[in-house]
């Protein structure tokens, strides 16, 4: 049962354009959402997060939007750069997970930014 879904396994975007990565979730107990970026041969690194009490969070070129009623979030990268080429994972945390930050991850979207 995939509670966090990234329906696009891959995305190709031209340099300078906007990249939009999507994520859907099914569990209404999720209260915190994160995006991680993963390069080959490296572990995932934290990119940006959003609490369920907000609908938008921005950090430089990266913006995450949350639509709670639709159980949907998206990551916008503007402008896209070749160094953004990586696999992006959406992750979610349940409100009742206690002291450990137990995250549920999506399947990932491979972003390729072309010149």
């Amino acid at each position: 049962d995939q509670q966090v879904k990234q329906n696009s396994p891959s995305l190709s975007v031209q340099e300078g354009r906007i990249s939009i990565l999507n994520c859907d979730y099914t569990n209404s107990m999720f209260d915190y959402f994160l995006w991680y970026k993963k390069y080959p041969a490296e572990g995932p690194t934290f990119l940006i997060s959003i609490s369920s009490i907000k609908d938008k969070n921005e950090d430089g070129r990266f913006t995450v939007f949350l639509n709670k009623s639709a159980k949907h979030l998206s990551l916008h990268i503007v402008p896209s750069q070749p160094g953004d080429s990586a696999v992006y994972f959406c992750a979610a945390k349940r409100a009742d997970t206690g002291t450990a930050s137990k995250l549920t991850f999506g399947t990932g979207t491979r972003l390729q930014v072309t010149l």
Binding site: V4, Q6, P9, Y32, L34, Y36, A41, E42, G43, P44, T45, F46, S49, F89, A91, K93, G98, T99, A100, S101, K102, L103, T104, F105, G106, T107, G108
Partner: protein
């Protein structure tokens, strides 16, 4: 910078062998996690630990066990390796809930395990 170190980058083992994957973090984090990453399945939680000698099962614990004798070290054990345990294994750590970065996991570089 937080450093999470996994002892091996690549590992090849035979079916039935007992396999130990080691992970060490240097930031005094209370929580440590083991995930596996498989194509089309994303990252799935195997086990996590929120304190020394404490452990809890994740979503896919079958065929695995863990050990946390010291705060900085978290070991994943495959009691009898099988081919379906061929995967990328990722260790992560995080501070305890209540601190500002409590939701953020810090990952190691991963161990690619092949079971033949």
């Amino acid at each position: 910078d937080v450093k999470v170190t996994q002892s091996s980058r690549y590992l090849v083992k035979r079916t039935g062998e007992k396999v130990f994957l080691e992970c060490v973090q240097d930031m005094d984090h209370e929580n440590m996690f083991w995930y596996r990453q498989d194509p089309g399945l994303g990252l799935r939680l195997i086990y996590f630990s929120y304190d020394v000698k404490m452990k809890e099962k994740g979503d896919i614990p079958e065929g695995y066990s863990v050990s946390r004798e010291k705060k900085e070290r978290f070991s994943l054990i495959l009691e009898s390796a099988s081919t379906n345990q061929t995967s990328m294994y990722l260790c992560a750590s995080s501070p305890v809930a209540g601190k500002r970065t409590n939701e953020k996991l810090f990952f190691g570089s991963g161990t690619q395990l092949s079971v033949l």
